[in-house]
Symmetry: C2
Amino acid sequence: MSALKPADRIGILGGGQLGRMLALAAARLGLDAVIYDPEADCPASRVAAEHVCAPYEDLDAVARFARSVAAVTFEFENVPVESAREAARHAPLRPGAQALETAQDRLTEKTFLNAHGARTVEFRAVNSAGDARAALAALSAPAILKTRRMGYDGKGQAVVKSAGEAAAAFERFESRPAILEAFAPFRRELSVVAARALDGEVRAFALSENHHAGGILRESLAPADVSAATEAEAVAMARAILEALDYVGVIAVELFELEDGSLRVNEIAPRVHNTGHWTMDSCRTCQFEQHVRAVAGWPLGDASAFASARMINLIGADVDAWPRWLAEPDARLHLYGKRAAREGRKMGHVTLTRPLSQD
Amino acid sequence: MSALKPADRIGILGGGQLGRMLALAAARLGLDAVIYDPEADCPASRVAAEHVCAPYEDLDAVARFARSVAAVTFEFENVPVESAREAARHAPLRPGAQALETAQDRLTEKTFLNAHGARTVEFRAVNSAGDARAALAALSAPAILKTRRMGYDGKGQAVVKSAGEAAAAFERFESRPAILEAFAPFRRELSVVAARALDGEVRAFALSENHHAGGILRESLAPADVSAATEAEAVAMARAILEALDYVGVIAVELFELEDGSLRVNEIAPRVHNTGHWTMDSCRTCQFEQHVRAVAGWPLGDASAFASARMINLIGADVDAWPRWLAEPDARLHLYGKRAAREGRKMGHVTLTRPLSQD
């Protein structure tokens, strides 16, 4: 049987806020969530039926975990591919390990995207300081040097304005394999969050317009004010990516909208995504429920929006404003149960909603 | 400090579906739920940070539980009053034990309601078969004999049409203290779910119209189609009850609407209530979040509805239709994670919603 039934167990690799919100969505649908995370007191463990506390690299523990559930998914793209493959030997892994492999390496990812009709900015592989210099000359300054693996929230990235800076940045990143990306003169950042079911059906949420600062998402506005053509192009790219990966679950596709209105894919996240949080309070089915439905082998839900949303991340000390948000009638407050509000840490989010008909 | 802060623990006596939905609401607000329930695999335990598995009568276990949390509440009105009082010695108990005591005994409850301006049907205390006969003569047939304590979902109730039937019913209920209630020639059943905050603020949800069969709620329609006067009368009664009990949290007031349009209180439930489930998918703040806010000492949320709802209980084998509900775009499916679909058991519910502006 590839479809789950109520009271079955769904396994989630990763127990941060995304795993927590997935577990809550699974619970509403009668499923028991089992969280795999090496951190004893991780946010998702406190809303789950069971918590397997073991390192991601412990293949025996991963195998036992996978055998104890009816399907496995993950909340973050840096799950070791070998662990994902081990899980897939014992339970359906949705999405599959190929999605992880593709998303874990910026060079693989961009090569894959371009091969499937999803345009990216220009880029060059950088394996040496010499590569870095040559790549900068080819793409022209400024450009962005990024390590190929393990970057998130702006980590492992540097804007470089000369061949010398490019070479220096490469060395500062410990000469790890990198890519140099052309600087996209973008008008704004958009994203599309979409899901593909086991039967191949694809449904996308409305696009969101995203505002970052310091490499971290601060706000999303959704549905984004975009043309029908832009929306259609974004959804077509998401669909092509989902189909090329034979993907099951929710994916996020981060986009640059260039000055001429055309789109470039910045990166993909093979999971529920911060820019989809607005769906929790504004869509008939939210991204977390949509992902659970897909992973369970169930039909996707209605992804349409009934309200417009401004989603505000509460980062670090931002969370201290929780009493104000709680008292704001238009705000829906989501807190992740994290105990220490470290700088840059996502502690919660707030959605300000407005009925769509009043816009 | 009487107000909780994020990542605090909230204790819930009772781990059924109401405790489960309370725990999920608490989690969204960053609180850790601790469930106290004697059943090892109860529905709420699988979404909670901790489960204390002990009998409700174990006062030592109750005391330890209460000391480990920042506030205690309950999901059902048959928590032993002595256990509630023990919990209240170690943590704020919201609502208080008086609400439990009042609701646990139909005679106490009706006497209390009438004393505070909330009209009920006529009733007589019945402590003997002779009382039963005399009460029936006083109220005239048909009437309803109900045990004073531990009745729910129609259990411990009998419609009686003669003095002999009244006496026989009393004896069939093992001569337990009972009351005889006059039969209310009601047009329909309504309820109002309302909350009172620690600072005394009261907010009510729109009334719901409720349909029972076999003593079990089958459907609620909300907002109910009632006059402004009926709505105002219901909310005024709820407010009077909440204030008389110095209540903190959500209460449900079940009402009969008589043929002449006047209201009688059938009973009160000092907790979140099945007739308030529609608020999860149709109100800005649902009854579970509202209760958590009150228990946490936080301001109440906006209780207004943005959609109309038809809430359908999935009872026993009804739950087998889950794949159909999952595929229905207008339906929001809630399953409680119960493993055995016994007859009469509430397994889940579905809310069919429609934007209010389109009504």
